[in-house]
């Protein structure tokens, strides 16, 4: 057993793609109900790190512990563990052959073994929560980007996850749709969901994040609070990055 104060523990994690070190020796402990935002330039390994948390990427070495269970190289229980970790993708990845409602009920039925009625009822709750119950019977192609992303969030929430991972959830959205997704995320954060987000929405960092991790070249450059990041960045690399994204 490891220390269960932490819901996510990442120990000396390495992930190489050939000779490219996407994640290069990362250690992070995340407490329950914390919102952690990972920032950094593209190619810095943020997304790979996130994908190692639910084992979508198999780490080259190191350990990932979720709620006291080691998931690295534990292929058998990986499906059970993944069901506890919701993930939201940059490109939504809704199932195009299913309606919004069916997108949200599928895994509930197949993975959680819920009855059709129960799954539908929960799906409706979640769709209401993300603000689009009226789109339940609409196919993803007929939804806007913001609506698709909100359905994707509802789909993840319907599994009653302990942790939510967000992989650049607003990067593929038109500017006017970013807010509707961020509002939902903010809501979640306030309700005490443990969240790990790869995002460059500095507004979200300010208002919702408990911790910020700045990554570069697969390594953690700085692990701090939003206040520490904006007002007192320690490393030159962090300052440079901040000046680049906050300039305009």
């Amino acid at each position: 057993m490891s220390n269960s104060d932490y819901i996510i523990e990442i120990k000396d994690l390495h992930k190489y793609f050939g000779s490219i070190k996407a994640v290069d020796g990362v250690n992070i402990n995340i407490e329950r109900s914390k919102v952690v935002v990972v920032i950094g330039p593209s190619g810095s390994g943020k997304s790979t790190l996130l994908r190692c948390i639910n084992h979508l990427e198999e780490p080259t070495s190191g350990e990932v512990w979720i709620d006291g269970e080691k998931i690295t190289h534990a292929a058998k229980q990986i499906n059970e563990i993944r069901a506890e970790i919701g993930m939201v993708f940059q490109l939504f990845n809704l199932f195009p052959h299913l309606t919004a409602m069916e997108n949200v009920t599928l895994a509930q039925k197949v993975v959680r073994g819920r009855s059709k009625e129960e799954a539908k009822q929960i799906a409706m709750e979640k769709l209401q929560r993300v603000g689009i119950p009226e789109k339940a019977d609409v196919y993803p192609t007929n939804l806007s980007g913001g609506q698709q992303q909100r359905v994707a969030i509802a789909r993840a929430l319907a599994m009653d996850p302990k942790i939510m991972l967000f992989d650049e959830p607003t990067s593929a959205l038109d500017p006017e749709m970013i807010k509707e997704v961020l509002d939902v995320m903010l809501d979640l954060a306030q309700e005490g969901m443990t969240m790990v987000c790869v995002s460059h929405e500095m507004g979200f960092v300010r208002s919702a994040a408990d911790e910020v991790i700045f990554m570069d070249f697969g390594k953690i450059v700085e692990h701090t609070t939003p206040d520490g990041l904006f007002n007192n960045p320690q490393k030159d690399r962090t300052k440079l990055f901040l000046s680049q994204i906050l300039e305009h």
Partner: protein, 288 residues
């Protein structure tokens, strides 16, 4: 006079262009085929020799249709399994699937039909029989009976032909399924897996429904091809329309009548089926 012409000319040109284009876009090839079909139908109804040939050959239609349908249904299963095997990360499964596909695709269909029906099936059945006798000798007679119940004598040439066509087409359909599955973006699998679905569940509920929809036209085309290739089973003396035509031509020396009727029969079936496939394809596109 000249004024009139001047005012008329542009109107004519516009009309002319669109009607010309309309004429060009008409499916003339289809009209030609229909014309041939109608002409042959006319000959069959009016000419006694053609009529006799048609009535005789028609008797093979049932075998042609059932052989094709049965083979294709089995081939779909083989194809889906082999297609899944081709993309499997399991080295053994992957190589077995690849082995199957490459062997089949490297041998002419005619040779495969001879081989599977006259070598493959008998050797396999003999092997199973021998295994059954061995089991019986070793005191598990009830199990042995399962393997000795069917002998080579019990397997008709028609069944062997169906097996041969199914095994052959399974390899071709495997590549269609493989391509269809691989055409679904990786994010779909990742989304399904991130929700806790197993590989099999992700395949069944998320990937395959999309992949199969994408490959429906390709499957349809292969079905049409199989109708034509079903003529090859005539080499096993299975009495499909090709075999029946050969028998009729051989006994009456009416080659012209036999093979014209035969060719038009195939043509009618394949053209109708191809048009259906196109229709399905168009409907799938508009529903996207």
């Amino acid at each position: 006079m000249s004024e009139q012409l001047q005012t008329l000319e542009p109107i004519i040109t516009v009309d002319d262009l669109s009607s010309k284009r309309r004429l060009r876009d008409l499916p003339w090839w289809l009209f030609a085929i229909l014309l041939i079909a109608v002409y042959v139908v006319f000959i069959i109804s009016s000419n006694e020799n053609y009529n006799k040939a048609f009535v005789f050959i028609k008797a093979g239609l049932y075998i042609t249709v059932t052989t094709t349908l049965k083979s294709f249904l089995i081939a779909l299963i083989f194809g889906l399994l082999a297609g899944l095997g081709r993309i499997s990360k399991n080295v053994v499964i992957n190589n077995i699937a690849r082995f199957y596909v490459e062997i089949i695709r490297g041998i002419p269909i005619l040779v495969l039909i001879f081989f599977i029906a006259l070598v493959g099936v008998p050797v396999l059945v003999d092997g199973l029989n021998t295994f059954g006798y061995w089991l019986a000798d070793n005191g598990v007679g009830f199990l042995g009976k399962v393997f000795t119940a069917v002998t080579n004598k019990d397997i008709s040439m028609n069944s062997r032909a169906i097996i041969a066509l199914a095994v052959t087409y399974g390899a071709y359909l495997a590549e269609i399924f493989r391509a269809g599955i691989q055409s679904i973006v990786k994010g779909q699998t990742e989304a399904a897996r991130s929700l806790g679905m197993s590989y099999g569940q992700a395949m069944r509920y998320v990937i395959l429904p999309q992949a199969i929809r994408n490959v429906l036209p390709a499957l349809g085309n292969d079905f049409v091809a199989m109708v034509k290739d079903s003529s090859l089973v005539s080499v096993l003396a299975v009495r499909d329309i090709t075999q029946v035509s050969r028998l009729y031509a051989g006994s009456t020396f009416r080659f012209r009548e036999s093979y014209i009727v035969l060719a038009v029969m195939y043509l009618t079936i394949t053209v109708v089926l191809s048009l259906l496939v196109q229709l399905v394809e168009r409907r799938l596109k508009t529903h996207e």
